[in-house]
Every structure is written in C-alpha cells, then in structure tokens.
Symmetry: C2
C-alpha cells in the first residue's frame, strides 16, 4: 500500500472528468500540498538493545526500524490518517516492525513485550479507518508494530465439515486463491478485501459486500487461536455449544486488546458456478427499504443486496469508476446479486425478482450490477483523487432495527449537513438482517484550512446523532480509538466493566494495542 493513500499506487487514477464536474458543481476544489515521504516526522526508532532481543526471537531479518518500513505501518486509512500523513505528521509511527513467523513466535513476542513494557500493535492489512493502529505511547518503552504477514498459510481444509483453518496474516485475495484451489470460497468481500487480512477481519468483526448470502465474518468463524500474555487461547470444538458463554464472540471484535489472533477456523462454501448481479430501480429510499426488509423477513435474501439513496444514485457512487456519469433516471438503485449453482441462482433470482416487482421495483437488467461489481473495491482510490483536489471525503456507518432506520437516516444526515456547510451526503444500505440493516454514509465537502479538525467535528456530530438516534456507533468499522468516546453509551457502564475485567485479566500490564476498544 502507498504510505499516505489507499492501495496499490499503480491503480491510482486522476479524478474522472464526470466526477470533477460534479465536484465543481456541488462542492468546489482547492489547492493542496502533500509532503514527501522524507519530510514526514516519525518517532525515534526502538532502542538497539530491544531490537536485538526481538531479533533473538524472530531473526534479524524480521525486525525493522528503517523509516520506510515504519512509515508504511503508521496509522490506518481513515481520511484523518491520510490527511495527517500528507501534512507530514507521522508521529504515531511504530518504533519498530517485527514479523514473527509462527504462532509460537507471536507468543514469544507478546511475552517479551510484557517483560520490556513495550506496546504491541497487531498489524494485518493496515486498513483500519477507526484509529485501530494508533497506540497510546505514555509510559511504554516503545511501540512495536507486530506485522502478521508471515502467518500466511492455509493450515487445514476439512471438506466434509466445510471448514478451513487460515492464518491471520493472509490477505483476502491470497486466502481466496488458496481456498479456490480446493473449489472453495470464504465469501468475505469487504471494500478492503484486496489488502485486509483474516486476522483483521476477526479482530474488527468485519462485514463484506456479500454478507446477505455469506454472513458477517463473525458468523463465519467457528474457531480461533489467540496469543495472549496469559498463554494461548484455543476456542471452537463445535459449530455451537451450550458450554457457557460463547467466548469466540468475545475475541471477535477485540481489536488486539485481549490477544493476537493468529489463526481462525472458518466455515467455507463451494465456489459458485454462477454470479449474477442485477440492478433494480425504486422511486424512493423508503419504498426500497421496505422491499429489502420484505426479502430479509421472507427468507429470500440474495447473496448481495445493496441500496443507494436518491443522492448516492444521482452521483452514481455505486460505481466508483463512473461517479458523476449518472443514468439520470432518478430514484434509488438497488444491486441484487445471486451466487451459487445455476439451478439455485435461477430459482432464487426468480423468487426475489417477483417480490421486488410486486413492491414497486423496476428491473434494470444486469448492466448496473456489472458496473457495481467491476468497481466494488475502487471507492477508496476515488477518495484519494478527491483529496488531491482539495475535497474532504470520508465515510461512516451505523446500524439499527428496521423500525428505527428511517429516523436514524434523517438524523445522521442532518447532523452531517449542519456540521459541514454545503456538504454532499450520500447513503447506502449494504447489510441487511431480518430485524434491521446498516446505513453507510459518504460525505464530500470543500476542505477547510484544518481539514482534520473539520472532519473530527462532523464525525462527532454524526456520532452524537447516532447515539441519540438509537443506532450502533459502528456496523463493521470497529471501535479503535475514534469510536471510543461513544462506546459507553452503546454498552453501558456495566458493559464497559466487563471489557475492563477481561482486558486486565488477560493483559494486566496493558501492552496490547493500548488505547483501543476499552474505555
């Protein structure tokens, strides 16, 4: 990944003409200056004697303190993260990067960190957008990024149980390629898919674009292996049990604060024979939400189900490669994707289509679905192009029960519009359950002189609106440091005490990703 942008630098594109016209019309651009890598201020490298100790555990090749290695593991990929780096502020950099090669080496590094009181930040794809990679530094002898990239094996495939054990450092495409060789798929495709890792998916309760069909990542996990300062935690002897609380669900979403996930056993499925993504048009967002809810509550969920509101449809954000090139039919675009055997896809597609048509939908054929699928991982590249043009762009998300969805939608929109003068606020529903759904907002506004402060104020206003509106502070982005101020409202003071109790028992000296998750 680029140090201060999303993704592969070779994939970066200038702002498309249509998008520039849109920005000129609605938001406005301004000149921005980006620091060179050599200009970025980093922390001091880790003390040499500590580096030597780490080298004794993982080998000298796998401990790095050079600027470039540390710069590439500095913060995550939220807009404030990028803006700070672009402004030359790398003061949250790790002091060293260590790359253990096995679970046992992770255990040994964690033990070492406890002994030396060094903070440890587990690092997978580096795609956090909630400050999940920014450790508190106070009182620690240093901050080490624990890069899991070398834990990249498919350890086991059990085609009878349809499970696979994947190591934590496997990136999405690599995991899919390894499973694909067995005719299998995990089916987890979040926007970060190309860079994010299995361990990161688990640690943050990631949810992918095919969650309607394949489920959230937390629903795919049947077992976990975790390195904690108290030793190894191995969970998952069965799909489900009544042997007390489900501790797997305590590790999922623990963001490296309780331990380092080193491998997971996941449920896998057969690779689909066929993938068909259709576009449907509805005249209004509420009407289309009813259609989605009807599908979810009738047991008719397709594999992919995504609905853009009127504004997002207007700017064509469902297809980031063609933003601004709207078909101008108005209304709301729904993408409805089916994957599976041909027979299964045909049957489900026909049943789903009948419901959507009955509830006011117009079948747009496969072109909008194809465009969405082609651009499904490109949104973050577009953000970089917009940031280059001086447009502040960021996303945030929430979730609630169906009866509260419309009210929450309005409330968050208003909070963002009030905070960011003249902002364009877009929204889509990307994850649907029987009892509720998610809301994913994209915001674009003209950059102020201090765009970080500008965004933090807007984010705070939106987060306050989410809490007041009864939503969850995050559907799939996790807590990190950015959502921490709102977590107590979400789980209450007793819930916070539970997190603290587990944190203090497993990590009594607090070296694991200090500052995230636990208020």
């Amino acid at each position: 990944m680029h140090w201060a942008r999303w993704g592969d630098p070779a994939e970066a594109k200038p702002l498309p003409e249509d998008a520039r016209a849109l920005v000129d019309a609605f938001v406005g651009t301004r000149e921005v200056v980006t620091a060179r890598p050599s200009e970025v201020r980093l922390t001091e490298p880790l003390d040499g004697s500590l580096v030597a100790e780490l080298a004794g555990i993982v080998g000298a090749d796998h401990v790095r303190t050079d600027r470039d290695t540390r710069l590439h593991r500095t913060r995550g990929k939220s807009t404030p993260d990028l803006l700070r780096l672009r402004a030359g502020d790398g003061t949250d950099s790790p002091d060293a990067v260590v790359r253990p090669g096995s679970h046992d080496e992770v255990v040994a590094v964690v033990d070492w960190a406890v002994r030396r009181h060094v903070a440890v930040v587990p690092f997978g794809g580096g795609t956090s957008v909630v400050g999940g990679l920014v450790a508190r530094r106070d009182g620690f002898a240093g901050v080490v990024s624990l890069d899991l990239a070398r834990l990249d094996r498919l350890v086991e495939v059990d085609e009878e149980s349809m499970t696979a054990v994947l190591e934590a450092g496997l990136r999405g495409p690599h995991a899919e390629a390894l499973l694909g060789a067995h005719g299998l798929t995990l089916g987890h495709f979040p926007q970060s898919f190309e860079f994010a890792t299995i361990g990161g998916f688990a640690a943050t309760r990631s949810s992918g674009q095919s969650s309607a069909g394949y489920g959230r990542f937390d629903a795919m996990v049947v077992g976990l292996t975790v390195a904690t300062p108290q030793g190894t935690l191995d969970l998952g002897r069965a799909p489900a049990t009544a042997a007390g609380p489900d501790l797997r669900q305590l590790v999922l979403g623990s963001e490296g604060a309780f331990g380092v996930v080193t491998s997971v056993r996941v449920r896998v499925r057969r690779l689909p024979e066929l993938e068909v993504y259709d576009g449907w048009r509805f005249t209004s967002f509420p009407e289309a939400c009813i259609a989605m809810r009807t599908l979810a509550q009738s047991g008719l969920l397709p594999t992919v189900l995504r609905l853009s509101d009127e504004t997002e449809t207007m700017v064509n954000l469902a297809s980031p490669d063609d933003v601004g090139a709207s078909s101008a039919d108005g209304g709301c675009l729904m993408v409805v994707g089916h994957e599976g055997t041909r027979e299964n896809v045909d049957a489900r597609r026909s049943a789903t289509g009948a419901v959507l048509a009955r509830l006011g939908g117009t079948d747009l054929g496969q072109e909008p679905g194809r465009a969405w699928a082609a651009g499904r991982f490109h949104g973050p590249y577009l953000r970089d192009s917009l940031l280059d043009a001086g447009v502040l762009v960021e996303t945030l998300e929430t979730t609630t029960f169906w009866s509260n969805l419309a009210g929450l939608y309005v409330r968050v929109q208003e909070a963002l519009a009030d905070s960011l003068d003249g902002a364009l606020v877009l929204c889509h529903v990307s994850h649907v359950y029987e009892t509720g759904a998610s809301l994913y907002f994209t915001v674009a506004a003209k950059e102020a002189d201090d765009p970080v402060a500008q965004w933090l104020a807007a984010k705070a206003a939106a987060s306050d609106a989410i809490v007041a509106g009864g939503g969850s502070i995050t559907h799939h982005h996790a807590v990190g440091r950015d959502h921490l101020p709102w977590l107590t409202a979400e789980i209450g003071p007793v819930g916070v005490e539970i997190l603290r109790a587990v944190k203090e028992r497993l990590d009594p000296t607090g070296v694991l990703n200090p500052g995230v998750l636990v208020p």
Copy 2:
C-alpha cells in the same frame, strides 16, 4: 411440576405395555420405593429477620419459606436430581423462595443478597438437567431461590423489525400464546418447552427441536436486560455491530452466575400457515448423516430435522408415546418437518425430498412425523414411568464438526456400554449446522443399589470420552455443576480465566448461583 417427577402430575402415565415388554427383554426391572413429600429432608428455612427484609422489597406475599414451596424448587430434573428426591434427600433445597415482580425488584433483591451475603439461585421452569439450580452453600447466610414467575409480560412487539421483548419468567406456551395473538411465533420448542422459561432459555443457550429452521435460542436474541450486582446491563442496539465483542453472547449461557436476565428482545417470525412433518427411512446411520449434512451444506435445511440411529429407531423412541411399538422395518428414521406459507413449504419440501431420495432415503409419508410431533414433549414422562419400574434412564448430549461425528458417536457409545453393563444406548441427531451436528444419547440400564453413583460413573466415562473425542461437553444442556469438571478441557485455562474475571468483576462476593459455570 411434580416435586420429584417431570411435568404435570395429571399427564403422568403408567409404563405402556410395549415399553414394559422391551424393558423386560433388554434391561430388566426391580422394585423401587419413593419417599413421601413429608419424608424429604430439607434445609432449615431462612432466618426470620432476613425474610422480613426480603418482604420489605417484594411484599410479604412473595417470600415463602414453607416446605412445599421450597421442595418444588429443589434441584432440577436430571435423573440424579429425581433419584435423590425420591430417596428423601432434599438437602439442596433453597431456604426461601422470593418472587420479585419487576426488573427493579430483581435489582433490589440482588443488592440485598450482596449486603447479606445470601446466595441467589435464579429459578425459571426448574428444568435444569445439569445441576444448574444447586447452589454451593459454604459461607453464605442462606440460599434463596429467585423465582422469576411474576415477570411474565410481553413488553413490546415491533412488527416492522419483527422483534418482541419478553420477560424472563414467561414459560414457553405462555410466550407463544402472547406472540400468537399478534400472529407471531418465536419458534423455540425444546423438549422442556411446556415448563421452561424465556430467561432459562437465554441463561443456558437452549436449542429447540425446530432449530434447523428457527435457529438456536442464542441466535434469536437481539437484546438482553440483566440485573447484576454492579447495576443493570442493557445490550442490543442493532441486530449486529462491530462495536467491540458481542457481549450478548457473554450473557447467553452465563447461567445466572454473572447476573439475572430479566427480559430479552428476540427475533420473531410469522406463525406458519402450514406444518408438515414427514418420515424418511435410511438403511444406516452414516448414510443418513450424509443426507443431513448435504441438506445443511446446500442451504436446504427444513424447519425440523431429526435422525434416530438404528437402535433408537428399533425401540421407536422418536415417538415416546409408542416406545417399543416399532414398525420393525429396521434402518434409521429421519423426521423432516417444514413450516411456513403453503407455497414455501411446498417448494422446500419438494427440494428436500429430491435430495433425500437421491441419497438413499425412502419416503415414509406423514405418519411417523405426526407421531413424533404428537409425542415431542413426552419423553421425560416416560422416564418417570421407567424409574418407577427400577430402570435407570438418562440422557446426555454433545456436538462436533461433521468429520468427527462418526468417531465421537462410537466413542461415547462404547464408554456408556462399558460403564453400564447391559445398557441400551440410543442416539439421535437433533441439531444440524453447515459445519457439524449434535448427538443426543438416551441410556437405559437396570438400576444398581446406588443408582446415583451408578449414573455418575457412567456420565463421567461418557464425558471423558467426549473430551477425548473432540466433542463439546454440551450442545444445549449447559454447564451447571455437572459439566464443570470438563469445562477447562473445553475452553482451556485462558478461557477459564476470562470467565473468572467477568464473574469477579460483576459479582465480587460471589452470591450469584455459586458453584455453577465458573471453574
């Protein structure tokens, strides 16, 4: 419920002729004597000043110390529980029974218990079969049964989100009746359905006979309210979130050791228009298991899916009212039930039937399914009739991934047969997942002179076999006190430390259901 038998005394039946013939042929009977209620030794009633304090919280009508009230809340309904009571041993009785009328009164009772160091055992239907109602008494000023029967309201129905808030003391049929008035159902029908409560389902991770279609109880819960010594814990702002670990899944299965569940928000469904239960015959248990697995892994799970092994099929245990009256066709009986709209049932039944026929199944029509449905809650009554005849009968269950199921099945059978000379060991699969399934064993043997010790030895042998065989110590019966010795093997020492940390933080003086769940 009867004090020393299952269920409604009016429903008790003498041992059917066919069953008696079966017992005579395979197991043998013996004379047994049962104590009269007045002969049962109970603990001393709670100290009068403490009773007066409780009366100050809930009203004098709702604190009882009379023998009958306490006797009826002594232990649960495992075979050892019943045998001990039948032998006149009621030494695990509560010293008083308190019936708070609201969440706030539960909070007040818990606070009082902490101040007075009185152990509190939450009591729903009293149907635990794992010693979940047997508190450790050491060091406490008394043991109080906290009966939730007065928390019996349907608090809220949200037909848009398809959720309902149910209070913890609602028994299964009452909850279904209240929901049924809105055309809704929870769809949770464990064998204990007629007596067990919503709070108990949550506290023990119950799983019902329709789990293939409606899911486990832990999958139905979207929110929980819990009274803890640290105050009220309120969880569930959305169907699913990434706001840290899912703490709902830490409360589910916590067995009253972390707090008292006072209400849950559950996902509900429309009452089915149609319920069709078919019987299918397979020549062997392994062949039929492959068919079940194929359904689960093809997205074709029916609402009910249950498979008896050859021995259970032979004795006809799937229809407890007709045990021994086997159709004598041999092979294995599978019950395949579909519920929903007529159109939906027709489509799914046809798709399921095609798979079962292709994989060697013979369609037996609806008669075996009807017989199963008619007797689905009667198994425990049959146990009482058998205990009356001096036959030791008990059940135990486990779960694992598909690839381990056949091996675990053999291992547990062998352990039971080795421990109980001449025992009849029956088994069925009652809960099926994409990645695995449960195994539910029923054992019948001639009672020894000390049948409790006889069973505890067999249970220990089976539990050791389960652990060694890679299964979970319980699929849906919970931990209680009976499974506690095997929990460390299940979740490991780090997992145990997590439970202890939560227990000690929420209940530092340990008054909540002492002795259960936490090793």
